[in-house]
């Protein structure tokens, strides 16, 4: 695929896809009788126009960095991990178990324990589908979908039977000890003397997410394991010939993927809710798919796409608050991004490739010494 220059591959194709998604989103807003430009400016205002807006934009972005990296790592091994949602739920469960039953002396130690448990639980939830794919050939997409539903049932059951405080009707765990609350951007700004809102939005987990992005970059492009994962993704038969064990790569890539998705639990459960509630994942596992596609499975791209989706999420919430446009607009935009950057990728790519090919031919035709002999008709 050397038809297109690298910049076109990395920047132009996703940009055109995004533009198509944006145009159709605007048409949708027009169709329901609202003004797309007014809606867009309201979203910008709500998402990045205030400290509170930024707080939530980055809070959501934190979730999407984790789930986006999770999908991206699996993509590199040509595995489609659609189970980020379930893995994140289990990660949240791990966080809750770590924080409810052990009296950690300080939030830093609590955070380390929660990180370990979240990653372990998420990875564990990805292990069975990975093993079944590698050893028994069961399709990982189907098994991970099934595991999402099983995770949701498991969580309802755990909350109702074990974690719910005695006498409570609400299916949620008890609140964690207050000294385990994670430091938030708002708290930090307040201590600096800047007036900020009091809600628990973006917290120290954002830095953990950025560290994970760097970690994934190092892993994928600077280590032997990352090379093996990418080689396996490009060609399974070539990887096998080079002595790469497909079972090992499938399982390891999925464990890393599941662990990353599970880490989202620190942000939602320890950082924001400060207890385990039902549906704390709010579909972030699925947004990870859009984020990874848009970010071309590169950690830098994932971080940028995650912040964009954080902006959309927070902006969409504001939009629902002030206009009659429901929050589901974000789901539509998300769907369009997945459709154009993922499924209809070739629709954008094919005409572009033809264009670049034509211009390349013209340039070559301009050089007389390179001109091939015209075949006789």
């Amino acid at each position: 695929m050397d038809v297109m220059p690298k910049w076109a591959e990395v920047v132009l194709v996703p940009l055109i896809s995004l533009l198509l998604a944006a145009v159709i989103s605007a048409l949708v807003i027009l169709a329901i009788g609202e003004d797309p430009i007014a809606a867009a400016s309201l979203m910008v205002e709500g998402a990045v126009g205030s400290v509170r807006g930024w707080g939530y934009t980055l809070y959501y972005a934190t979730n999407f960095i984790f789930t986006g990296l999770a999908v991206a790592v699996a993509f590199h091994a040509r595995l489609f991990n659609i189970g980020g949602e379930g893995q994140a739920m289990l990660g949240g469960l791990g966080v809750a178990l770590a924080l409810l039953y052990v009296p950690w002396p300080h939030w830093t130690i609590g955070l380390i324990a929660a990180t370990g448990m979240a990653a372990a639980f998420g990875a564990l939830w990805a292990l069975i589908p990975a093993y079944l794919q590698a050893k028994r050939g069961s399709h990982i997409v189907i098994t991970t979908i099934m595991f999402n539903f099983i995770a949701s049932a498991l969580l309802i059951w755990m909350l109702n039977e074990f974690l719910k405080p005695v006498g409570s009707q609400d299916p949620a765990s008890a609140r964690f000890a207050t000294h385990l609350d994670l430091p938030t951007l708002n708290g930090w700004l307040a201590s600096m003397g800047i007036k900020a809102s009091k809600d628990d939005s973006v917290n120290v987990t954002f830095l953990v997410a950025l560290a994970c992005a760097v970690g994934v970059w190092v892993l994928m492009w600077k280590t032997r394991l990352g090379y093996e994962i990418r080689a396996f993704g490009h060609s399974e038969s070539a990887a096998k010939y080079a002595g790469i064990n497909p079972v090992k790569i499938t399982v390891v890539a999925m464990l890393i993927s599941g662990g990353l998705a599970g880490l989202m639990g620190i942000n939602t459960v320890m950082g924001e809710a400060e207890r385990l509630v039902l549906n704390s994942t709010e579909g972030a596992g699925f947004i990870g798919i859009a984020v990874a596609l848009m970010g071309r499975s590169h950690p830098l791209g994932v971080v940028i796409a995650a912040i964009l989706f954080g902006f959309l999420y927070q902006g969409g919430a504001e939009l629902a608050l002030w206009t009659s446009i429901p929050r589901e607009l974000i789901v539509v935009i998300q769907a369009l991004v997945i459709l154009f950057t993922g499924a209809l990728d070739n629709m954008v790519r094919m005409p572009l490739e033809r264009m670049f090919l034509a211009s390349k031919r013209r340039r070559e035709a301009a050089k007389p010494e390179r001109k091939p002999v015209e075949p006789a008709e």
Binding site: V28, A31, I32, G33, F80, I82, I128, L132, R136, G137, S138, H139, V141, I142, T143, I145, M146, F147, F149, I150, S152, A153, L154, I156, W157, N160, E161, F286, I289, L293, S324, I325, P326, E328, L329, I330, V331, V332, I333, Q334, A335, L336, I338, L339, G342, A343, L344, D345, N346, M347, M350
Partner: protein, 322 residues
């Protein structure tokens, strides 16, 4: 558990199995032709909304059904465009369709009806009523046969009987006609079909269109027969249970019927915990019972109880020039 409770339980089994069966047969056509479809859920949801909305506006449920089928087939066309014409990733396309339906239905419902993403409740001619089969009232009091006929066999909406009729029809179409043979061949070895001079693209589009048709009926059943009106996310994972049933049945029509009835029974039991307790003397958590179809599918996929082998060319876009 007495006889009447059993009849009631089986009755709701049939009701809950119907949308699963229609969606499962829809997936069967698509996947037998080599097009994976995890967008069954989204197509059902879109059809559920449009059939309820148009039925509410027109007052005629048949017009609603057509609108539902139309909406579902539009999404099918998108899936076909992405996975057949542009040779994109069929799974990613399915995911996009699910989200598109989840978002658009609420957005349009809010715009049209302003009732928080639902349609007005349907009544009268805007809903599929249950049909009383001839003689059901006459023999209702006969012991044993009476309740069986009057409660279980009679008294469903026309869509239930259509779904049941679709099973032999699907079997006949796939295994006894030329079209069916070609459709199955295109899912196993598209190059061979192409060599024989039959269009792979046309066959696959036909399969995807049939899939849209059946998903449309399934969605319409949800909002105009099973319930009276559309509510947000009302498909509630049924498209994925249908997918599970499809794997469970190993892509065969009659087995799809049995799998859907089994999963329908789980659904019926979920709403009757008292029955489970009475029979098994165990307190079974309804959430865990709801997860049973998924667990069973994973076990089947793992190949511990007979191996589920999908059509060989499933998920692969067909490229003519090699």
């Amino acid at each position: 558990m007495d006889y009447l409770t059993l009849i009631q339980l089986l009755d709701s089994t049939v009701r809950l199995a119907t949308p699963l069966l229609l969606a499962c047969l829809a997936g069967l056509f698509s996947e037998r032709a080599g097009i994976f479809d995890i967008g069954l859920e989204g197509k059902m949801l879109a059809a559920a909304f449009f059939s309820a909305a148009v039925a509410a506006l027109s007052g005629n449920v048949w017009v609603g059904l057509l609108a539902g089928i139309g909406a579902s087939m539009v999404l099918s066309a998108v899936h076909g465009l992405a996975s057949i014409t542009f040779r994109g990733n069929q799974l990613i396309s399915g995911v996009a369709i699910n989200f598109l339906a989840a978002g658009m239905t609420v957005l349009i419902a809010q715009d049209w009806f302003r009732q928080g993403g639902r349609t007005p409740s349907l009544s009268g001619g805007a809903r599929f009523d249950s049909i009383t089969l001839p003689g059901a009232d006459a023999i209702a009091d006969t012991p044993f046969i009476g309740p069986l006929y009057a409660e279980l066999i009679s008294g469903h909406s026309i869509l239930v009987y259509m779904a049941l009729a679709a099973v032999p029809l699907t079997w006949w179409l796939l295994f006894r006609t030329r079209f069916g043979l070609r459709l199955r061949a295109v899912g196993e070895n598209p190059a061979a079909v192409d060599t024989a001079g039959v269009s792979v693209v046309a066959l696959r589009y036909a399969a995807v269109a049939i899939c849209g048709l059946l998903c449309g009926i399934a969605g319409a059943y949800l909002s105009t027969a099973l319930q009276a009106g559309f509510v947000k996310d009302m498909s509630a994972g049924r498209g994925f249970i249908a997918l599970a049933a499809l794997i469970f049945s190993k892509w065969r029509p009659w087995h799809a019927l049995y799998a859907c009835l089994l999963f329908g029974l789980f659904g019926a039991l979920e709403t009757r915990p008292d029955v489970i307790e009475a029979v098994t003397t165990l307190k079974v958590n309804s959430a865990l019972l709801g997860a049973l179809p998924y667990v069973m599918t994973v076990i089947i996929l793992a190949g511990f109880i007979g191996k589920a082998i999908p059509p060989r060319a499933g998920g692969e876009p067909y490229v003519k020039e090699r």
